[in-house]
Symmetry: D2
Subunit: 339 residues, 4 copies
């Protein structure tokens, strides 16, 4: 069994998660090469992970003919061109979301991907590979909830990161709360319902972080939307969960209701102390989704091995981005937006 | 200590709860008289509760000079006139919501109530007297959550009552899901935030009960609204909770978050059986709010005794009704409604 | 419907609960008289509860021929003689546990009670009237758990009362942890299983309160016992629950398992804050069992009305006391005790 | 970085878990060889895991000089001799518990291990590597619970395996419930408290599986024990948990209490359906401890790499076995056993 040779670009917070998983938990692959313009990231790859081929240029890495696939975890602005280059080199591609920063750009990449049907393209919607979400999806698909009538999706980052985000927002554009955070939730709604979005209407406030208003950012945003099949979907995104990293998804069906992450329990421990009866909580996304990240990368590799195509497509990225942009437009226009 | 002499009109499902509570759990009052056009209801009052004065006419009951106060639990269409008559007789009034069926009508009653400042008028928003809500209100008022940024209110009736509602809807008008059910939630949002509603935008569907579409009713309705202070409030009302009676309220603040009724636990029992780890749930509102109903009636009586005024005013009824009607209008116009 | 006229002796912490419940929540009874040697207690009865007949002597109260029944909530040392006197006056008796301080004494009272088969005698095992316990008992009786194989009973008082207990223990004898606290648990095991105790083996320690060793008291005590039908029962009693009042009962059966009070949730509130996801907890027994106390008193009164006999008998008191004393003996002898 | 070459003996249920983990999740090791007398097991190793060197004889495998370490997952009766042989060949050893079937035998192996201080010996107490237990251990070590006063350990196998166990028990000896199951719990108590056992007293019954009595086995066993530092420890072992695999550990301290696995939640999903509010549960130990198994094997390998010694020693195995045997003796003698 020869191992899939992966070259990864980008070794930031999320990039390190992927690189480390490939080395430690993806048996059928090896992290053959990395590319980064950050010296410490290459050092980390070389010394901690034992990667042999380290490049300061993505293009140079792609020139190494030994590669089978790339993992793209660079800043969002580079995704589109890096995906394109890799496909043109005949490589399989795993890319973090978003595919690109603008819709036109994304559509071009989607076309390019469709021109390479025998190359695996997988987008980093890792929640689909989380065991709790898989359990819920299986229950929904077996009909245990009957028909879906409404969904609710919360994505609230921990308060511990709020100050850092405020500093970031003073100098950079995140793309807005919905594009930055709700896009995972939008993907989940499409995945669970199999339906597309028809309308969105959004609100937002900065009660918890008034400084963000000057940066044209929101601390809390909410959106009420309708899908083509009539399902109602509600989204709440925020940057100030005092109890940790709160990702919660609710699916209400005609025969029952499921909540994933009703309380973001860290483990199976319950404390009984002066505060009451306490469940400790997940601190951040690398903790909450650590096994999902492993699963998604193993799936990418086995999809290549099996000459299959990924279930998380470029079109999923495009559609979710369209919805997130509409949610943001609704904030700006104070109107219901029809997709 | 002389007991407050109460005359009650209406002894349906909710009326029986009030009457029985007055007899059994309201020490400073006695159920002196009842009025109903339903013979069995008078029999129940006389035989089961031992009420001495039973009337087939509300006006006749009011002519009994011994009365101090009335409890109005008759069909909604009678509330306005019965409140007015009682006030004109110099009686204190506890009335179930709504005060009236139309806004103009309600405003007239509100004026009438304001003309009788020394008579207690209390509206039946019993949730404000539930110990879980009181605990949460106290936490909010002490500042434990910081400033409120968002709320979420669910009111979902048990599936066991859906067929009966469909039969009802074929012949009668409920006033719509928001007026019928969300009005309690609207009141809670006003109570917790101390702010008024600015805009509402609603959606609805009948995926779980297609027959309701022909009746111009909704099985599931949702509303996203903004308060004057910027708080975001989301409402979900439904008639098909398979697990029982689901009333849930979430308050997100800058310093933490509270959920009341996250799971509508029936008691302190946990079952570990073939289904997994199971918490039994409340079946319906008389069970969920049984102590709230007792507390609200005791409060009504002690307010009279203390020559005080109620904290649940006619204006609360008017404001909440205005919002519920706007929510319904949003469904019909598919637009964001500004209050 | 004439009301049962109750005379109550003792208006301490628990006595006040009973007296107040009779006045406010027991419709078919009136608190006709009270007896206490504590002046403030009589004042409380007279002023706060409006009791007409106040006595400084129990015997004098019994001489009032209007009485139908007595409620005995005096210090434990008086119970035996007060029960006897009341029965001899032809009165129904509700008595707090224990019936008496010594087995011989209790047996005499049991005989006396048996000599008055037409008088209701009810012992204050209020947990049997708690809705969670009733729900569990019903499930067990319906066979939902199959045959019972093992039980676990925790009774841990809140840490907030530990210092006060230590002061108390320096001057007085509580009868020991098992007689003071586990007796309720012993009664529950007999009630759920319908079986009697065969052997007990106990351990104890004072790691949390070394001062108690000099007082011949235990902060924590545990007992492993076997019932005649083979069921295993484990008991833990303690005086130092940091999270509040922890009463928990587990019933393991061949078809499933039930826990009552797995977490002693105060209400339906869940907090999501810096501590994690938190359920507030019950502070003490008057809070945890407030509705059980109301139910038990209503049951006492309706049992009298129905000329029935109580389901919580003097024999239940005797049997549970025998077991508690055996548990204490096991601590002293370090041996397995056979009953 | 050269990889540690592991030879594994035994590829049954648990053996497959280890072998698969070594291949997929232990980056610094390779599964170089396997030995088994079961043909299908060797086929599995060769075909599914791609193991190159497959032996029908453990001795033959040990003759392969390339090996660095062995993983022993064979039937318990072989452990002692296989550990000894491996040590004599100069190999590091990871062995499943028990070290041996009889105390004398185990003591000889412990001596042998002590004669090879530069070889890593790690015993398969995987719970110490579970993240929930590690979280609790860390809290205890930081003093969050104060001093430990009592512990409770439940290990109940799922009902789904009961029939199979009954068939097994008709032909084979499991060593008894305490040696087979409670040994993990005994180890946890020693690990958390740092104290040794002083006395044990056990009970058992076969209410759920009367057939086991003839096999001299117990379906349910319980033990109350005292540690040298005064801590009370209660154990319950069983083979009939209808809701799945129930491993629960409670640590009561002077400052608070911790429960690990209060409910054996399978994931973060909550169902709201006709049964109530339901948490799905773990089915069996490979599911519950899947990450613990990975962690323990990675720890074994990194301990070898770091020329360190394991924290889970042969002495831990010996001590826990002594306690389990005493628990079993208590059943037979119906007496308190002093260690």
């Amino acid at each position: 069994m020869t191992k899939i040779k992966i070259g990864q670009v980008g070794l930031g917070r999320l990039g390190k998660v992927h690189a480390s998983n490939i080395v430690k938990h993806v048996n059928n692959a090896e992290l053959y090469a990395v590319a980064s313009v950050v010296e410490q990231e290459l050092e980390y790859a070389s010394e901690t992970l034992g990667v042999q081929h380290c490049y300061t240029s993505y293009s140079d890495m792609l020139d190494n003919d030994a590669l089978d696939a790339v993992v793209i975890a660079s800043p969002s602005g580079f995704h589109a061109v890096q995906i394109t280059q890799a496909l043109e080199k005949g490589l399989h591609v795993f890319s973090e979301k978003p595919i690109g920063l603008e819709l036109e750009n994304i559509r071009q990449v989607v076309d390019k991907i469709h021109d390479h049907p025998h190359k695996v393209f997988q987008l980093g919607f890792m929640r689909r590979f989380d065991e709790s979400y898989l359990y819920a999806k299986d229950a929904v698909d077996r009909g245990e909830l009957g028909k879906i009538t409404a969904m609710r999706c919360y994505g609230i980052d921990p308060s511990s990161g709020l100050d850092r985000f405020i500093q970031f927002a003073k100098n950079s554009a995140s793309g807005g709360l919905f594009l930055d955070m709700s896009i995972h939730d939008i993907d989940l709604v499409r995945w669970f319902t199999g339906s597309e979005f028809k309308t969105v209407y959004s609100l937002g406030n900065n009660i918890a972080a008034p400084e963000l208003t000057a940066c044209d950012e929101l601390e809390t945003g909410a959106c009420l939307s309708e899908l083509e099949d009539g399902t109602i979907a509600y989204f709440l995104a925020g940057r100030n969960a005092q109890h940790g990293y709160h990702v919660e998804t609710e699916i209400i069906g005609t025969e029952g209701m499921i909540r994933i992450g009703n309380a973001p329990e860290k483990n199976l421990v319950t404390l009984y102390d002066k505060n009451g009866v306490v469940r400790p909580t997940s601190d951040h996304f690398p903790e909450r989704f650590r096994f999902a990240f492993i699963n998604e990368m193993n799936t990418f590799v086995s999809t290549i091995k099996n000459k299959d195509q990924s279930s998380v497509t470029a079109m999923d990225g495009l559609k979710s981005t369209e919805v997130a942009i509409a949610m943001q437009n609704s904030i700006e226009t104070k109107k219901v937006i029809t997709l």
